[in-house]
């Protein structure tokens, strides 16, 4: 096996994992808590390698294409009708997506 990095097994803190689940809208399955915290721990440890790299005077790159935004003519086109789009909706009412009631 190709092993260019030395990795120690770090566990990801369980309370933080639940918080992350809330933020991501993903339920953390109790039975997978241990394996998930070990997986995430090992990934975090892996990306922490980068901390030691000096990036003081480096600009970030968001994508590699060296091109400014291209403008297009502002011409209306008739695509994506409501009916077509709603075909894929799990629940709809009239011409709308329907979701559980929200009261605040």
């Amino acid at each position: 096996m190709f092993k260019p990095y030395i990795l120690e097994n770090m566990e990801f803190d369980k309370d933080s994992l639940y918080k992350l689940g809330k933020l991501s809208k993903i339920q953390i399955d109790e039975s997978k808590l241990k394996s998930l915290s070990s997986d995430l721990g090992s990934i975090i440890e892996f990306i922490n390698r980068l901390k030691s790299i000096d990036t003081e005077n480096v600009d970030p790159t968001s994508n590699s294409l060296d091109q400014s935004l291209v403008m297009r003519d502002d011409i209306a086109s008739d695509v994506n009708s409501a009916n077509e789009i709603l075909e894929n909706a799990p629940q709809k009412e009239l011409d709308f997506f329907s979701v559980p009631k929200v009261i605040e």
Binding site: F2, Y5, I26, L40, R49, Q67, V70
Partner: protein, 491 residues
């Protein structure tokens, strides 16, 4: 008819009226039926394919061909939206999704008269290097070791696309490559896989994984086929804001395999004692081959090579967590009912996503969360600049760079490491290229001691695909790699 026809051979047969598109399509649909065990296809669109083939034959009779490749059957990764044809990204959450529009790439294939046989299996949302994360089950590599009967992974995420070409279930296929997802499976299956320059091929209508890295490309049997299919799908698209405005080129007609006087860079950071001896040997053999054919080898350094993989595992999950926020059970895909809106979101996403996708969403959310954004995400984008700069400096001295495509050949489906980071290492040689946005190709060179294909990766500077294809053709024509897997899946 001859097995393993390539794009060029098939178009010659069609042109000489020695076959028809309908006949070709039927042969491939039969091949697909016989290869169920390989699990390459999520959806087979037999009826539509035969209908399209009939129309192609009619066009041929009337002398109204859409392109010189009109009528050739291909396969499409199930990540490209196809109008009125189910498009799942191999995820449960999209298992009922039928797009109302056609992706830019598949539209271009339709416009060239290519016939789609169906949608090819892949890792869920293109996240994986084994094709094991698919909701529809793993794809099996048509290749087997000569020392064992165990089933092997085809690589991923475009595992179905690569396996289908290797097993002759289609003449060529479309894949996508975010960190190696075309080149690594091409290497594992003895096929040719091209990842174009970021911006060359429109991303419009491709289900997004990491938008600043995703790029579509061909998986084919030969370099000529790669040039032909690449030329069909490339070009500016106003619907993709990161689509390059550069003119499309005649990559196929302009193929020229001379490497005389070219400078080929050999990066010292890709050398490792962990590299299997057979891979090292193949790499060395290819260096000698290029030298014999008139190229000059130059030792170069890409100092941030080892930083690319951890950088990728910040940027890709960050973009994925944001791109995948749209799957919430409201507009499309499956919904799991909950007591309230939030619970509905959480249940839908927990049931709809598989483990690897969840892991990446959680990591992405973590590196983007308040207090960590600068430390991880911005830091990674800065290191991305350093990686890009390494390549810029290298290309001041060399025309192309030669490396292995992967650190190993195909491994057993049952034998994947438990630690996700060990699996991520599959992409160690391919990921830096996506971060730099430059083009690269994996071509088969030889088989290892277990008779499994080893691929080599050629890399050039942005928008130099022509040079890349030319060098690849030179290597292909000199080595004459003609191995194909034994068709054990045909009963």
């Amino acid at each position: 008819m001859k097995r393993n026809l390539n794009f060029i051979e098939a178009s010659s047969l069609l042109e000489a009226n020695e076959t028809t598109s309908v006949e070709l399509t039927k042969i491939y649909l039969d091949n697909i039926k016989e290869a169920k065990e390989l699990n390459c296809f999520n959806t087979i669109t037999a009826e539509q394919a035969l209908d399209d083939a009939e129309k192609s034959d009619l066009r041929r009779q009337q002398g109204k061909l859409k392109s010189q490749f009109d009528g050739i059957p291909i396969g499409v990764k199930d990540l490209f939206c196809t109008k009125n044809i189910k498009t799942t990204a191999s995820s449960k959450i999209l298992s009922n999704f039928v797009p109302s529009y056609e992706s830019a790439v598949t539209q271009k294939c339709i416009d060239a008269g290519l016939i789609s046989l169906g949608k090819l299996n892949c890792d869920e949302f293109a996240m994986g290097s084994t094709n094991k994360t698919s909701y529809y089950g793993p794809v099996t590599n048509p290749w087997k070791s000569n020392k064992s009967d165990a089933k092997l992974v085809p690589g991923g995420s475009s595992g179905g696309s690569a396996a289908a070409v290797a097993a002759d279930l289609c003449i060529a296929s479309l894949g996508t490559d975010t960190g190696g997802s075309i080149r690594q499976p091409a290497s594992f299956t003895g096929t040719v896989g091209l990842k174009p320059t970021y911006g060359r091929v429109s991303r419009w209508g491709i289900i997004a994984f990491a938008s600043s890295l995703d790029q579509a490309g061909p998986i084919t049997k030969t370099v000529e086929d790669a040039a032909a299919l690449f030329e069909i799908i490339a070009g500016h698209d106003p619907k993709d804001s990161t689509s390059s405005i550069k003119e499309n080129e005649s990559f196929f007609d302009n193929l020229n395999s001379s490497v005389k006087g070219m400078k080929i860079g050999i990066p010292k950071e890709f050398k490792s004692d962990d590299l299997p001896a057979s891979t090292q040997k193949v790499w060395d053999d290819c260096k000698k081959l290029l030298q014999n054919n008139g190229a000059e080898l130059i030792n170069i350094s890409l100092p941030h090579t080892m930083d690319a993989l951890p950088t990728y595992y910040i940027i890709a999950p960050a973009e994925a967590s944001s791109n995948l926020a749209r799957y919430d059970g409201v507009k499309y895909g499956i919904r799991e009912e909950g007591e309230n809106l939030i619970e509905m979101y959480e249940k839908t996403r927990s049931v709809g996503f598989g483990d690897e996708v969840k892991r990446r969403i959680l990591i992405g959310t973590y590196v983007l969360s308040s207090g960590y954004y600068d430390a991880y995400y911005i830091k990674a984008q800065k290191i991305r600049s350093l990686i890009k700069n390494d390549f810029n400096q290298a290309f001041e001295r060399v025309d192309a760079i030669l490396t292995p495509s992967t650190p190993s050949t195909a491994f057993e489906i049952e034998n994947e490491p438990n630690d996700p980071v060990q699996t991520y290492l599959n992409d160690i040689f391919t990921v830096p290229i996506n971060l730099a946005g430059i083009p690269a190709i994996s071509i088969p060179f030889a088989n290892d001691e277990n008779n499994l294909p080893i691929g080599l990766q050629l890399i050039t500077n942005s928008f130099e695909e022509q040079k890349l294809l030319n060098i690849a053709k030179n290597v292909q024509d000199t080595v004459n790699y003609e191995s194909v897997p034994k068709n054990w899946w045909q009963k």
